[in-house]
Symmetry: C5
């Protein structure tokens, strides 16, 4: 399972820089392009068959959001690149799903890579590659497949809720990133539940199934989340700080706020990491405690019965001259002695708090 | 319980930035507004029903402190925001109880978020969200519910004790923060006691209840405290350093002092963290020591009686021709041999320091 | 095996700085020089017997790539150094295979050291020393032996694929470095597989062979990879940032991209490091779990049969007056009692989840 | 004992900033004021009853050192503060024994807090709070009680040894700090001895007393030392770097030297910390080794005698037809077989290196 | 043995700053002064009885290297200090063998402290204190005793090999430092061998001697090496960067190279540190594995023979009416049953992979 992150590395080794090669697993996703065009007064929403239709949308009076789903359609992405004059390395990174979050500044546009994280129905962590190009009056977002966290944004555009319709394209970019980061809190919550579950298994239930595997799995997940979330701090921080004509001052407050959220997620990730690493130690003490318990039972049984069996063995000997054997009440005296030893040992164990 | 910190994340996901949504648990707190208005000569103290009454208080000749309890009353907070021209993101953060300590600088006011920490009557760590807005001649503080650490400040205003009545609103902000940080020392002390208690349980008492759970709990608490306290260092440091018309030079000395206190708390938190992490190792050695003790008892008993039982078994055999059985004093010789073996083994164990 | 990295240190101790002494193990490699000379329109490819032939290649109209294989031929390297006016310390570092990745800036050329990593057919990690000199219109690369990761570049030059034929010598240097870094992803993948294998061995198979050795081996490998990869971050970062006439602006975008790739590799290395360190803990719990299992079997057997054997011992005694022995059904009653005890203990173990 | 550091926190919570409240334990120390007044030619030494007498000492021609013992006499400290115009926060910190080392710069004076560390006669680590005010031609030092490390300085002033009489008040401050830091090396040595002792106990002696407690104690001590020593690095570094009229250039060389010493102490503290943390692991292996030894004894005894006892049991059976019982030498053959088994097992254990 | 580093601290506590007090252990070393005087054309080499003879050597046309062995001869060092106008603190540090590596810049000279490391014939790590003063046309080096790593340099001066005779005094200083650092690689190699040896002991040999002690020793050694090597990075880095008339540009390339070497040593030290810390964990698993093995033997023996002994006990009972005892082939049937049980258990253990 460690392999999961790397399956596609091999395919791209040796390719020329700037080659557009989709490295993800969803190689048969349908192409799905949706376009929003809005300003303070009006808005328009369309689903497109071909990307060319979107190119006419760009105007000075509207903000345009082009959302492209299906990174396997590299031809379409190349067309977009040509139309907007994007650098070949950007096109490569749009489809390179292994790429870490980053921000690239060009004269006329900004390029942001980030990661959408969720648990699929099998409870497996999925990391989806999202990239955004911010231009003068447009934002183009790229996703691996449809189904995303942008529905609240769509609804805010449609219903003219919040500030989105009166702000520029930089605010739109912020909103998209904010939606992705907001969703991280879901993830954090699930991770918290998983840790709690494991702790409960460790403490309360007595069954013996090995949870080392589950802990190792959690470790891997938190490490993958960390890798997706941590670089984003730097991305947003830089986005807030850079002097670029596309980022207006009013938006910086929002980016600062976004930065605070990512820090909050990161802190949670670090805390959970500490907790998960601690689980192994806890498990170890649990095992040792169980063994202690087992050993005590063994020791109590052995310590009581081994001496008694010895005594019985004595009077099972065939010496011709064992006077005790001939006493009338020898057998009963014997039992009395056994009982005294037995009670003495029980008292001893009670004192040692073994019983 | 890991979930405790995150219960409210889900509800806010998808909301537009700047939406005022209370994320805490005290959704039915009463609204409680108190106002202090003072200068060198006079002071006035009032409890208000409606926030509007407070708006008339602001004058150039007095310092006004408005203390709002009940973050669930988002309407009231919105009104305050409108009256004082606060940024929507600030209003969002006032009621976002999950937000980490921070400072935001605006042209006409400063916004500070911090955390009040205490253990409730059940011994559970409670983290209460406090935020303060510092304006020209006023401070507005927001809390989740009444009951706070500000009583000494109230009394100092009433009795004109200390410097509070002769200093500006920035000193008032400092005093509020100082009161919160002062209270951290209480917390530190309780944590120290808890660690000591666990250590005593580890060393002195012999009962077997599993303290892994308690250690894990302590870990979680110290991590939560850490998260609430550590960002405050940066906040106070920045507050001391920024060039802002609202912070006068005289107050900076006090902020420096406050910074020292937070560093001191942080150092204690780090030390306790180290101690708590060490507890698990200590517990592990304690378990192993106990097992060693158990194993020794078992080994001593088994090592003494198994050979003796073997000997008894020998003379319990029914061979027709076992000469020893026919000796007159065979039985007594047998006992003598047993005693010699017994004493020999005892001496052996003494030498090995097992007894 | 820890020695492997250091075998050659001793030989160079005491040599004057700038002495050209090959420190690697491939002391009998054949000398193999290949030269590429190309521009937008034409390209030429040659294999040389003597390095002198290459010196005539340098012209203003072409880019020349001289690839020297066989660092043991120090004479040849000295000749190159003399021809191109390279600093003696550079020549020393070209053949010092122990040297870590670095970049040295001189007025007329840049010198870069990096490491090619691969697993040989025995599965052993091999670290090959590569150094490049970037000049005005040429790049000279030095390797320990032929067989490298540059084939895709050769083919791109031949077929005029990608941008390589229209860009300068700095782009060629970038391409060489990019090929080396691309290959790291292979390595990462193999390491991922190895970790996964060990985890599977830990979890699924029950055989007892000690995997401590394998874990220790993995540790050593990841540490060596780390040492080869991490300094490269700084090298590429500096290459991107420096103001040097040899690095044109257009190439910087590509260097930034290369930097992102190295960061990605580094992150993977760190994650694998964490995973490998965790394996030891996992192994420990696995051992303890097995011991628990063993102890339970022992305890169950002993706890059942020791008391029963004691009872049998009782009725094997030779007291003259043991009434039970004379009961007609004494033997059958005895068996019944045994069975009851037996069943009682089984129930007890079931309850304790030991069975 | 974790509580020891914090006992006094509670008392100061809620006090107004600048309140002079002694937080230490030596609440009944006698007041003891000593004054040194010296220049190149002359020196004077006096013990004072009242602080007022010291105020007349300050002249431009002499350096004055006022050493105040007894921080519980807050009235006296207030008087000093008033006379020299010290900031209220400084007075608070002079008597706040919990305060960490720091330096505060004011226009006319510098304020330094540091910690004197020693082990008392019970071997307990004592941390004594020392603060110094450096003025134009005077230094005032404050201690909790008399008995300090300044005797060599007193003697150097009296005997005009070293440079002290020809240098300014900044050099005097340096000398005081140097004396305190010099004494840390004593501490370091005692810690080294303690660690060595514990290691010896772990390796050589076989007695079973639990040293977890001692290790935990050492941990606590090294953490407390760390907290007292580490901030001093920053203090001295700043003292060397600041532009302040009171620190002349000549003294900076000495401060640099002092800084080197503190770094050296810090490094030792870090190394000891590593060693102490390692002790727990060592102890764990020691316990496990002992258990191994115990288990081996048990296993050897059980493995030898259980089969032999079984054989004896066989021939203790009462089957009517057991032919061996009737052999004339049956008993002797039996013993021979036992001996063979016994020797075989001994050989087996020798081979396994268990004996 | 932890004490070894600190034995001399006590003696210097309380001494005035600048006091020349030798803190090392070689208090009876002979004084041994050697002088090299050379330029491009000529060289001269002399062994001196008195240091005064060396003072006439300084000329503008030659480079002079004065090598002083025997730090216990503090009088001589004082004379040198007076002649060259060295600061008293420098003289103190020359003989303070506890001092960490550092560089001090003065107007007319540079002062460098570093550490020569080697293992003596008993295999004990020795740290020898070396300090160098770099002046206009001379270098003075100070060592604790003769016997050093400078022989290659002597031979290079004599034979005019390398660049040494044509470069300035700064290059000579570099050469001395380079020789010391070169020697670290020897050390690194020995440490590598020691680790490998311990690993082999852990894996292959089965004897039971406790290697905790050896691991702890290695830890201490690597920590001491670390302390001697790590500060040197900063020293050389600063030496390369400072603007000082004594360091010419040409030498900076060599210092950069030296810096690379120290980084390489440091990386190795860090890796070995990681490996050594890991050894303890490995040892722990080895112990646990051994215990597992022991426990299995015990469990197998006990599980096989305890039930069989029980059965034998049954038929050793003296009930009057045990029908089996009267069967003609009862005894043989009994053995058959035993055999079946025996084989069944063997099969069971095979399945569980315990055999």
């Amino acid at each position: 399972m460690a392999r999961k992150d790397n399956t596609s590395y091999k395919k791209t080794i040796g390719l020329a820089p700037g080659t557009i090669f989709y490295t993800g697993e969803k190689t048969s996703s349908d192409l799905y392009i949706e376009v929003f065009k809005y300003n303070k007064e009006t808005y328009e929403e369309k689903e497109l068959d071909a990307i060319e239709a979107a190119f006419s949308y760009n105007t000075a009076t509207h903000i345009t959001w082009i959302n492209v789903n299906g990174l396997n359609h590299t031809k379409v992405i190349e067309k977009i690149g040509n139309h907007y004059g994007l650098h070949p390395l950007i096109l490569e990174d749009i489809v390179n799903t292994q790429h870490r979050p980053k921000i690239d500044e060009y004269e006329n546009y900004l390029f942001v890579v980030l990661k959408m994280l969720y648990f699929d129905k099998n409870g497996e962590l999925v990391i989806e590659h999202i990239s955004c190009v911010l231009g003068d009056s447009f934002v183009i977002s790229f996703q691996e497949s449809d189904g995303d966290v942008f529905d609240p944004i769509r609804s805010r555009i449609r219903n003219n809720k919040g500030r989105i319709r009166i702000m520029g394209s930089d605010y739109l970019l912020y909103t998209l990133m904010d939606a992705v980061v907001d969703n991280y809190f879901n993830l954090i919550e699930v991770m918290g539940d998983k840790i709690e579950e494991l702790e409960d298994e460790l403490f309360e239930k007595k069954d013996d199934n090995d949870i080392t595997y589950d802990i190792q799995n959690l470790k891997r997940e938190i490490l993958r989340i960390r890798r997706a979330v941590f670089p984003l701090r730097e991305v947003v921080n830089r986005l807030e700080k850079i002097e670029h004509k596309l980022i207006v001052k009013k938006t910086r407050f929002y980016l600062r706020d976004l930065y605070d959220h990512i820090i909050q997620v990161s802190e949670n990730v670090e805390i959970y990491r500490d907790m998960i690493w601690g689980l192994m130690d806890m498990y170890m003490t649990t095992i040792s405690n169980k063994m202690n318990e087992v050993m005590k039972v063994l020791t109590i049984i052995a310590t009581i019965f081994i001496p008694l069996t010895f005594l019985a063995g004595i009077y099972g000997m065939n010496f011709e001259n064992i006077p005790e054997l001939k006493y009338k009440y020898g057998y009963y005296i014997f039992w009395t002695v056994l009982l005294i030893i037995f009670i003495g040992l029980i008292v001893y164990f009670k004192r040692r708090k073994w019983l």
